[in-house]
């Protein structure tokens, strides 16, 4: 079996917008498709750098997202600030293990999966590793897919705060933590987006 050849080995580039194949003649930084004027990139520029930067930002945001309260509820039974982990524990203790599990997956498992997965992808790409290239591509697709499910938490808080407004009887207000959590989700999604999966298949020169 002849070894699979990369497009640049054939001196070709592909416009990813209109599918026009162009020569890889100019090695300049910014090339445009002559047909649709889209940018033609052999690989997404600064992909690993951007991914890494956004990943770090996501990890940094994740700390206050968990330390700060995400929601403030007040009612006849008093006032309470709840954090994400505190809320999970409360649901778990109250016997609502299913809801606890759902929130755990959305707000703890998914972000951590993304951190680890993107970190792993970045590390292996840096190393020009040939290890499990197919599996890593699948992993990348999973990361892309699960990214937005983390917004579940944000939506829960937004809905609760909007619906639970009974003045004295009960009221819920969002707190700073949820903004940080939202930032975590957005930044990690951007991080995954800026990762160019083609890098997984690049062979060391």
């Amino acid at each position: 079996m002849t070894p699979l050849r990369q497009s640049h080995e054939l001196g070709l580039s592909l416009c990813r917008t209109c599918g026009l194949a162009v020569t890889r003649a100019a090695r300049a930084a910014d090339r445009r498709c002559p047909r649709c004027q889209s940018r033609i990139e052999q690989r997404t520029p600064f992909s690993t750098e951007m991914t890494l930067a956004l990943l770090i930002a996501g990890i940094v945001f994740y700390i206050p997202a968990n330390l700060l309260p995400v929601m403030h509820t007040s009612g006849l039974l008093g006032e309470e600030d709840s954090t994400i982990l505190g809320g999970i524990l409360e649901f778990w203790r109250a016997g609502d293990w299913d809801i606890a599990l759902l929130i755990f997956i959305a707000s703890v498992a998914v972000p951590f999966t993304k951190f680890i997965a993107i970190g792993l992808l970045l590390f292996t790409v840096r190393q020009n590793s040939q290890w499990q290239q197919h599996q890593r591509t699948v992993l990348y697709r999973i990361v892309e897919f699960i990214g937005y499910w983390s917004m579940l938490d944000v939506i829960v808080v937004a809905l609760t705060a909007a619906l639970m407004q009974f003045q004295v009887l009960g009221a819920a207000e969002p707190r700073g933590g949820i903004a940080f959590f939202c930032a975590v989700v957005v930044v990690t999604m951007l991080s995954a987006l800026s990762f160019d999966p083609r890098l997984i298949w690049d062979r060391p020169a």
Partner: protein
């Protein structure tokens, strides 16, 4: 990287080359910003971290770690972070993290207490804790020393959050039904409350009240405090009088104050000092009684209706009360006199007392006893009198009865023994008894028999008159009638006698007129007596009269 040149190179279009200007290194700003935000949060958290304090309570019912708040003036300043038993297991140590601005509230005498619902008649407080759970109340102190360890109060202080006003101490023999938090009234307007009650070592009660500003300016050295608990019902000449400060005061008690009589202003009395708490407004407003003197009285009669507390009046003025009514035994004549002990306040005699004091008669027991001796000599006696015919209650009257028999007075007896006379009502009873006895002793039977014979005689006399005297009287009356008839005829206008008399009278009237004319003429012309009458010139017109008057 080797550059293979495919054969179809010419057929393929060459991408347009532009110079890349935007370098996406800016993406590194994202984690930097994230890190900056995180660090700023940390810094803020660290900067806001306040002190951690420990409060020891005997019981921490309802306190929950992480939930129970510490509040100062209803503002949350901290949260309970731990609840532990003390080393000796006698107390519970509550640890709380306070906010940074609360640090300045932590003085050595800062107070902490657990706020629970408290329901009294006058007030309901802490009701919100029924649902929300307890919280720890806090009241800052005035000490300059800072402290981190506190001993919590078991009951909330009556005065939280330093209202302006004045704290006053009231001394009373008994506090009555006053409760902490009971209202303090000035002219039926609530101006403060009772904040503390203590039993002093001498058995008296000390009531601490707090009068809010600006009403504390009503408290003057002359101010009198009295217990306003309950209802004052009085039946007076102006009808039924029911008086109370407020409904709450009826239930939980209360203290009222007002200006006392001005003339009783003690010299140089400071407001800082204690006040007395009187039992009632009447007592509070009365001039001070001074020290009581005890007197003993020995009555030789039953004193039903004389009770302990009955008034003792001196010439109609209430100067004391009966403190004991005992039965004595007199060996001489085997009698049982009633011994009444009374307490008398000489000061209640008012101006009389001052006059006596000026003469030095109240200086000591001895001079006073001597003075009382002279009064007894002048007829001072104690007498039980009936205060009300309806109830039969008695009071002791000290009055001058000069007619009473002389008695010896022993000025050396302690307490003084006043001579007595029997009560006026009893005397009245005795005289009525004597009267009834006299009436009883009358020979009523004989009197009736005599009266009977007398009446019989009278009857005989009457029948005599009837049979003999009356017919004669009828004859006499008819004769009299005839006489009167003839007299009537004689005096009639038409009778000759009457006519003659009338003629005579007119005749005499004209004669008298002539005489009067003569007298008048003589009066004007006395000379006519000698010269005779001049010819008469009678003026007829006013003109003639005026010409006549000219010369």
């Amino acid at each position: 990287m080797s550059e293979p040149t495919p054969s179809s190179d010419e057929e393929l279009p060459t991408p347009v080359v532009q110079n890349r200007r935007w370098i996406p290194r800016l993406v590194w700003a994202v984690p930097v910003v994230a890190a900056l935000i995180g660090i700023s949060l940390l810094v803020r958290n660290w900067a806001n971290a306040g002190p951690r304090i420990t409060i020891s309570f005997l019981s921490v019912e309802g306190v929950q770690v992480g939930k129970t708040l510490v509040k100062y003036r209803d503002v949350t300043v901290g949260r309970v972070s731990a609840v532990d038993l003390s080393a000796d297991h006698q107390a519970v140590l509550v640890s709380a993290n306070l906010s940074k601005d609360a640090a300045s509230l932590l003085k050595a005498d800062t107070q902490f207490w657990i706020v629970r619902p408290r329901i009294g008649v006058g007030t309901v407080s802490g009701l919100e804790t029924l649902l929300s759970g307890v919280y720890i109340g806090m009241e800052t102190g005035v000490a300059t020393r800072r402290e981190r360890q506190f001993v919590g109060l078991e009951n909330p202080p009556a005065l939280a959050h330093g209202p302006h006003g004045r704290e006053l101490q009231l001394q009373a023999a008994r506090a009555g039904s006053l409760a902490i938090g009971a209202p303090v009234y000035f002219r039926q307007f609530q101006v403060g409350r009772v904040i503390d009650e203590n039993l002093l070592p001498d058995g008296n009660t000390r009531v601490t009240v707090f009068v809010d500003a600006p009403y504390d300016s009503f408290v003057k050295p002359v101010t009198r405090f009295w217990n306003a608990s309950g209802v004052d019902v009085r039946l007076g000449a102006d009808g039924l009088n029911v008086k109370t400060e407020s409904f709450a005061a009826v239930l939980v008690g209360g203290v009222a104050f007002d200006d006392g009589p001005i003339e009783t202003l003690p010299a140089a009395a400071g407001i800082a000092g204690d006040f007395s708490l009187y039992k009632s407004e009447t007592e509070a407003m009365a001039p001070p009684d001074g020290d009581p003197r005890y007197v003993r009285m020995r009555f030789a009669q039953a004193l039903r209706g004389l009770e302990v507390g009955a008034p003792v009046e001196f010439v109609g003025v209430n100067i004391g009360s009966v403190v004991a009514v005992d039965l004595g035994y007199e060996r001489k004549d085997n009698s049982f006199p009633v011994i009444v002990t009374a307490k008398v306040y000489p000061r209640r005699m008012g101006q009389a007392y001052e006059a006596l004091a000026a003469q030095g008669k109240t200086e000591s027991e001895a001079t006073l006893a001597t003075f009382v001796g002279t009064l007894v000599h002048r007829g001072l006696r104690a007498q039980p009198r009936s205060g009300s015919l309806l109830t039969g209650k008695l009071y002791i009257a000290l009055d001058f009865l000069p007619a009473s028999p002389r008695v010896a007075f022993d000025a050396s007896l302690q307490p003084l023994e006043l001579p007595t006379v029997n009560g006026s009502f009893q005397e009245l009873e005795a005289s009525i008894g004597a009267l009834v006895k006299k009436v009883n002793d009358l020979p009523l039977g004989q009197i009736t028999a005599d009266l009977h014979t007398d009446l019989k005689d009278l009857h005989e006399t009457m029948s005599e008159i009837h049979t003999r005297v009356l017919p004669n009287a009828a004859d006499t009356l008819s004769a009299l009638h005839r006489t009167l008839d003839s007299a009537n005829r004689t005096l009639d206008v038409e009778s000759p006698l009457q006519r003659g008399l009338t003629d005579t009278l007119s005749e005499s009237r004209s004669t008298l007129q002539a005489v009067r004319e003569l007298a008048d003429y003589l009066d004007r012309h006395p000379d006519s007596l000698l010269r005779g009458r001049r010819p008469q010139k009678v003026p007829h017109t006013p003109a003639a009269l005026s010409s006549d008057a000219k010369p």
